[in-house]
Subunit: 403 residues, 2 copies
């Protein structure tokens, strides 16, 4: 497996584009993205668990009921959520894609991100669709830009691998937390692959993968109304179709996981106001489930996040977050260390503090990527969660006046 | 029922004191408090649900096994948690109280708040105990000061009421979120009453009351290792002892609730970095439990808290927090309004935005006490939760270097 360039356009038969159509006032910011597959593709998606769901999710869910799709349309600047006419507008956007590309509206995945509770004016989308479609090409980077809100960096990646002697590719773009009118942190991820894989196995691959990847990311604990991870597989790599578990499926899963873990780290490290990427690795848990619960609790703790912002080796807060996580842990067996490019420092063993150099700890925690390593000393369960620190800028971004 | 002065010393037979003994470096800050009842009292307490529990909680739990206590000793500046010798030190502190006051160590409630994972040196407590005991008197305010960490205001209250022709009193002191070496937000509440009430009914009163009071407060979502709410009832009001449900018990519950709600609001409004008290009132839920879940989710949302800091009527974040709360709600029935001393403004009806004056909303949200009123439109369940906004100072207080 190797990393290749091209993002969502790296796999055969995929083109993309992103433009500024006018949903956002700032003309420097792209706000509409389109990804198209040459052939109708197997498709799967997972959605937010929030009971308040964006209208685009309802429409996408209905379009994916048959397991097929051929395009993804996504706007930023407005979430099209909590509006009386949301579903109608989302359907109309798909129809605009159909008019311009010939792809049936029912094969279009639609997504939106931005402020909620403000009707989405379809005019700029209507006006921009021709240019958007005309510009389709090797435009993964443009598409990645068009879905950004307060993200500070574009997020794209692709990897290639072999199945049955054929080179296959999986690529993806993502957006994390942020919006031009600060609102809620919507995570959107669009993945493309030319691997031939049945709709059923594609769904299985995605729903399995997200358990240890996107479900293990937290920026601020608020689950958006518009989260979506979607994947298109158009089969143009011409490998023998993956229709069941086995070696080929495992190879595909590994490639998919490489792409999703990369995007998770990118999303976490670019969380609103973040100055640092936090990776919490829990081992020695009584089960993988317990490890996940524990790791997420640590990553979500405001106090741990604030301590990391201050490069403070305040491990008591980590013990505290483990203790209230709900995971079955024995505090007396817990070992904690911090690791980064500057080295590793053990701060707690057997649930109690050990003597360590505060200077060394400060050095370790001043780096941009911090690993919080926790051994629960009770079993073989393990998990990793990703997050970021809590900074003044998080408050600034989200406390500023909306209008 | 009327509010009276005196805090924990308002009820007959209670004295208190608070001094600086030297656990903290800053000599201006008191760090050791003692509350004593003239007679052995019925006693009850509730503790943190965190699996990592402070050593003082273990000792207190064992001392309260018989339902009696006569004194409360509490230090700030060190939580005596995650230390190898924690239980031993907490027991030793109780023995120091016994030596000085004659009250058996097994009738002493012990509590600590401050940094965790650093051994508690008993020397200053030993050296200060004589002065602490000698100064016992009408010192509720001093005791309230001695348990403060980063609290900015003392929290004390008392109310008197009649049972069986006798005047009874319930009083309390509390500390909220903060510490001299920023660590975790420990909530400590000590209540005293001269009402005669059986140990069993006292326990019932406390454990019932906290469900709608202290359990409904959140500053930052981190459950401390050292939380404790304790009550002493010495019977010196000479009312007919409350031994069962009935009118007298209800009168007592009402007085207790007046004291605890007051302290909840004080704790929430004085959360770390807080500039505003938030009160979220949910009505129209399918059950009280659903209402509680929904109200707490809103109060705990970092995005809602940041919006309130910015006086931003960003109601979409409230819908979002309701949606992921886990409570069974129908988004299409939700009505939201903001209310304060400056008036009330409805921002959402039927799950969608309504036209409102942004200027008026800004005015309402610029006040120091904000009510978030949510009608779920699905039943008669109701609940109230208390919290505070998320400010730069929260990050500053908790991101600063620990040592």
């Amino acid at each position: 497996m190797k990393t290749v360039s091209g993002g969502v356009c790296a796999a055969k038969g995929f083109t993309a584009n992103g433009i500024h159509c006018g949903i956002r006032k700032n003309k420097q910011k792209k706000d509409l993205s389109l990804i198209v597959s040459e052939r109708r593709a197997h498709a799967a998606a997972v959605y937010t668990t929030n009971l308040v769901k964006g209208a685009p999710l309802t429409v996408t869910k209905s379009h994916l009921a048959d397991g097929f799709a051929q395009a993804v349309i996504c706007n930023s600047g407005n979430a099209n959520t909590c509006n009386a006419n949301g579903v109608e507008v989302a359907e109309a956007v798909c129809t605009l894609v159909e008019k311009e590309t010939g792809i049936p509206a029912c094969d279009v995945i639609v997504a939106s991100t931005g402020v909620i509770g403000q009707p989405l004016d379809i005019t700029p989308i209507k006006d921009g669709m021709a240019a958007l479609a005309a510009g389709l090409g090797n435009g993964s980077a443009d598409a990645a830009e068009g879905i950004m809100t307060t993200d500070t960096v574009k997020k794209e990646i692709a990897v290639s691998f072999e199945i049955g002697g054929k080179t296959c590719t999986v690529g993806g773009i993502a957006k994390g937390s942020g919006m031009i009118h600060p609102n809620m942190a919507t995570m959107l991820v669009f993945l493309t692959t030319d691997a031939a894989i049945s709709a059923e196995m594609l769904k299985k691959a995605l729903s399995t993968d997200i358990q240890s990847t996107f479900h293990m990311v937290s920026v601020d604990g608020d689950t958006s109304t518009n989260d979506m991870v979607a994947i298109l597989a158009n089969g143009m790599a011409e490998n023998p179709e993956i229709v069941s578990d086995g070696e080929d499926f495992q190879i595909f899963m590994k490639a998919l996981n490489t792409v999703t873990v990369y995007l998770c780290r990118k999303i976490a490290g670019d969380g609103e106001g973040a100055t640092k990427l936090l990776e919490c690795r829990v081992t020695g848990a009584i089960s993988d489930t317990a490890a996940k619960t524990a790791a997420k609790s640590v990553i979500c703790s405001s106090l741990v996040k604030a301590a990391m912002f201050g490069a403070d080796a305040n491990w008591g807060r980590i013990l505290c977050a483990l203790g209230y996580s709900g995971a079955d842990i024995d505090p007396n067996h817990v070992k904690v260390s911090f690791r980064s490019a500057a080295g590793e420092v053990v701060v707690c063993e057997g649930g109690a503090g050990v003597i360590f150099s505060e200077e060394k700890a400060k050095e370790v925690l001043t780096e941009k990527e911090i690993e919080i390593l926790i051994d629960l000393g009770s079993g073989t369960g393990a998990a990793t969660a990703w997050g970021c620190d809590l900074s003044y800028d998080y408050v600034k971004i989200n406390g500023d006046y909306r209008t």
